[in-house]
């Protein structure tokens, strides 16, 4: 028989899908199960109660791929319950032996009790309803409390309102049951009073237990976290006062270009990242991508990037990041020393400016078969809807690469170039550089490059993010 391991209700159903689920589970035709159910329903409503119980406790098909314990009916205890209710149970599974679905058992017992009592009273038997009804209510209350407790133990993250409603329900049920017990006692004596008192205490205790457990656990976790934070702060303070100072001193003494300064700077950055936990929540943030990139390039080149970012945090646009990477690499290779990177994320456009104090770049002097700058910086940004300008840096020395990307272009549409960055009003410097704005204006021209590498390397680096 192709039976399901647990009773699951199919998504396509006539009433609640219970009969189909049971039929699937037992490998019995649905019609047979439905007939049995109808017959049971005629027996004083027992079938209806059973149906309701199964409906409430069995999961829906898709959610049942990974049946949670409290929702499955295949553990031995569960199957015994369903057996008692007139249904042979499914085969027990070893790994499920450990935790019985107490909730379902208790709820089931309560319902069976109610059904049985109804049938009995219909048949004229004298049923002590004064005892049965409170008993059932107590069972149901305990079941709800247990369910909540099991959730907590399993680390289940029940949502707040659900938990509150369930707990309140459990509390009310237990209290009501016990009160009924007490009130309906016809001849109250010392023992009934004692039993009632103990019951109330137990009931309340049971309901409150999950909260107590969780409170204790939260308190412990909080204390542990606090201790960790305090310890970390202490270490951070110490490192800050000793190692960072020394690293700063090494950099100050050694000069930006030296190997020692480079190492000290790399160490300082690592330490600082750890100390101040600067890793942002969004790893794809443009500023943090650039920072990471700067760190990687600094490791391989005698260069010191001074990265200043202004404005809101934005996800890194691939084109701008790749072009910026190329500009930074060029600055590191051909200029070195102090290179400043300025990123400003405005409302309308993102501007990234890489400035070095190197020998400057002359786009005209670059061999036409080299693709580097034209393709990887200017062409790439133009395709993305932005502009790139390469010209002399501050005071006419060095190189300044100014990349501008309209914010609109960072969204899906790479259409329509944004406002061109205002051209830097630089007096004619000693470096015979071509005004950069002319470069993007003529992308069809065979591109040139000052890069010693074949052009493909730039494109390859695009994928190999640090």
């Amino acid at each position: 028989m192709d039976t399901t391991a647990t009773i699951v209700r199919p998504r396509l159903r006539v009433v609640g899908g219970v009969c189909a689920g049971v039929a699937d589970h037992l490998g019995v035709p649905v019609a047979v199960v439905r007939t049995v159910a109808v017959l049971l329903a005629l027996c004083g409503g027992a079938g209806i109660l059973l149906y309701a119980w199964l409906w409430a406790t069995t999961p829906v098909a898709e959610a049942a791929r990974e049946p949670r314990m409290r929702e499955s009916l295949t553990s031995p205890a569960g199957s015994r319950t369903s057996g008692a209710a007139g249904e042979p149970g499914g085969g027990p599974r070893a790994e499920q032996l450990r935790r019985a679905p107490v909730t379902e058992i208790l709820l089931g017992l309560a319902l069976i009790g109610a059904g049985g009592a109804l049938v009995a009273s219909r048949l004229g038997v004298e049923v002590p309803l004064a005892v049965v009804i409170p008993g059932i209510v107590v069972l149901a209350g305990v079941a709800l409390a247990w369910r909540q407790f099991a959730d907590l133990r399993a680390g289940g993250t029940a949502s707040g309102p659900t938990l509150v409603v369930r707990s309140l329900g459990a509390l009310v049920l237990v209290a009501t049951g016990i009160l009924l017990f007490f009130i309906t006692g016809e001849t109250p004596n010392v023992w009934t009073v004692v039993v009632a008192a103990v019951s109330v205490l137990l009931g309340v205790g049971l309901v409150a237990l999950p909260w107590v457990v969780r409170l204790a656990r939260d308190l412990g976790a909080e204390r542990a976290a606090h201790e960790r934070a305090a310890e970390r702060a202490e270490i951070a303070a110490h490192l800050h006062d000793s190692v960072l100072q020394t690293l700063a001193l090494i950099q100050q003494k050694a000069g930006a270009q030296s190997e020692a300064a480079r190492l000290a700077r790399a160490q300082e950055r690592e330490l600082r990242d750890w100390l101040f936990d600067t890793a942002p929540a969004d790893d794809r943030d443009l500023a943090s991508e650039l920072r990471r990139l700067a760190a990687v390039i600094e490791e391989d080149h005698a260069v010191r990037f001074e990265l200043v970012t202004v404005g809101a945090s934005v996800p890194a646009p691939e084109s701008l990041l790749a072009a910026g990477r190329e500009a930074m690499l060029n600055a590191a290779r051909h200029a070195g020393g102090d290179v400043s990177i300025f990123l400003e994320v405005g409302r309308e456009r993102i501007e990234l400016i890489v400035t070095d104090r190197g020998p400057g770049v002359n786009l005209d002097a670059i061999p036409a078969d080299r693709l580097g700058v034209r393709e990887s910086i200017i062409g790439r940004l133009k395709r993305a809807g932005g502009t790139a300008a390469i010209g002399p840096g501050r005071g006419g020395t060095g190189t300044e690469v100014r990349l501008t990307l309209p914010v609109a272009a960072t969204a899906a549409s790479a259409q329509g170039a944004g406002p061109l960055a205002p051209e830097a009003a630089v007096p004619a410097g000693p470096a015979p550089t071509e005004p950069a704005s002319s470069a993007p204006a003529d992308p069809a021209r065979p591109a040139g490059s000052d890069s010693p590498e074949p052009a493909s390397s730039g494109a390859e680096r695009e994928n190999g993010a640090p």
Binding site: H240, L244, T246, Q252, T309, V310, G346, A425
Partner: protein, 217 residues
Amino acid sequence: MTELRIAIVDDHSIFRSGLRAELDAGLEVVGEAATVDEAIALVGAVRPRVVLLDVHLPGGNGGGGAEVIQRSAASSPETLFLALSVSDAADDVVRVIRAGARGYITKSSSGAEVSDAARRVADGDAVFSPRLAGFVLDAFGAAAGETAATHDELDRLSQREQEVMRLIARGYSYREVATELYISVKTVETHVSAVLRKLQLSNRHELTAWALERKLL
């Protein structure tokens, strides 16, 4: 040119001696201090023109460099403070600036850079590191397009001030900023001083909230 009398306040003797050895000849180190209390006593006693002040200092009431500035004001009003920090944390730096420091530079700056900054402070100018300039642009909402309408508005930067700050954030020296904007170096200094004043007096909540939130100045 008379020698500029400066004091170095830092709790690390290795840093003090290192900096002392690196400073230009025109600067005379008249004293060193390692704690808040020592620093206050020193400033009161020798009255240096410029104090190179570490942001983080032990002692006193735990206020660090800011406390030194505030408590020294009475005993030596003519002393100016230049904050040195290794932390780069915005809240630290903004605190000393608001306490009255005339500028801020990082500890990894070279001896020549520190000397230059000290001279500039002695001349009454403000010293902004690129990162401080970037922070100012952010804190005053320049990136979001906020621009002061009147000159005496404290909570926003004027168009010109924003331009100056942008260039400083990009590593330009005052002279380079002046060339770039076709203004005199003195005008650049005026703008920077105006920004420093706003930084010290403004009540923009970003100045404090932002600094606490993002420690990346």
